[in-house]
Symmetry: C3
Amino acid sequence: MDITMVSPEERLRKLGITLPQPPSALGAYVPCLQAGALLFLSGQLPLKEGRLTCPGKLGEAVSVGDAQEAARQAVINALSNVKAFLGGLDKVARCVRLNGYVASAPDFTDQPQVLNAASELLREIFGDEGRHTRIAVGVAVLPLNSPLEIDLILEVRE
Amino acid sequence: MDITMVSPEERLRKLGITLPQPPSALGAYVPCLQAGALLFLSGQLPLKEGRLTCPGKLGEAVSVGDAQEAARQAVINALSNVKAFLGGLDKVARCVRLNGYVASAPDFTDQPQVLNAASELLREIFGDEGRHTRIAVGVAVLPLNSPLEIDLILEVRE
Amino acid sequence: MDITMVSPEERLRKLGITLPQPPSALGAYVPCLQAGALLFLSGQLPLKEGRLTCPGKLGEAVSVGDAQEAARQAVINALSNVKAFLGGLDKVARCVRLNGYVASAPDFTDQPQVLNAASELLREIFGDEGRHTRIAVGVAVLPLNSPLEIDLILEVRE
């Protein structure tokens, strides 16, 4: 079967991922908003059942492996918001941008390695349409002491 | 009177806010630029009459209350640029994105609380059209030792 | 000769700049992607022949002058990606946004001075179409211990 014929939601099932209820916004903003063909997502934290999968910073309390798991969780939370907003992931034409902010001790420089876990999950779910541009920066500290925050811009099928 | 019939500029008046002269850019860039229906704003600092309302970082010299006031000032500066560019706020169809960068001591994690002051002011001024997506990150340090920097993407009425 | 009749590639030649082979992505993402009329670029580091022009942070190992040279290199790398993607710089209608992240010691506040070197190079190459909106933030640390990371959004000629 041609991979291009497999829908993102089928791929999620094959990966054993169930999208959770979208996490609540941490403030006076909305999780998703469409302007023209672009869908903007608010910053996503690695919350699972209301708690961070691992609090702290890279180069301190959080290992690269734990942060990669957190990066996948942030993508899953993002997609739960996309699905709630669009009614389904099949309306995603493709990924455009992933902005990745990694809470980093001053000497931690492997932000790309952490964020690759998020980038690769998008590729696994969306195939070629999961390819995206990216920034990776190491920030001082994040809300709730999160190890990372990810936001996405997606293109929506007309 | 239906709130949806009140213009953003009337709401500003009711809030007692007078838009200042737009602050000068701190470098070789422009404050505002429209591409298609999207209006991009450069990063806005909480400058008032040419000075930061409060210099320093959250978790150090700057309290959450002072930073919330600074966040409102940065939004006011943003809107003074929007008005200068578009000729008036009524051409704003809606807010799309607020990116918030908060200069933070390594253990300050209440960036959302600070930025809610900006988000709520946008809602007060633009009503439902003031709803937006948002990122909130804690950065090491900002230009002029500013406590925060905010940038906006708005959608413009055709 | 009217400057507006000089192409970006001619201006590059006059500036003595040869675009290098685009640097490889540092992970599972793509360097460039077009959505509608907007061309999004991934974060660019000041790599030259595979190495950072200067590693470290502003306010520590890296001087403002060295960082300005690095900012120009990051722009050159960005444009090498743009040229590889579009086939030439003449398809750039204009610059829309430059996001600048400067790795900064906690008391370094001259991020705009560093990024002006990038902004001014865009103006030299693209003329009035090189004008752009900008954010300038000071981050804790960047991939590979880079002194800065720059990303661009450009508008492409139909």
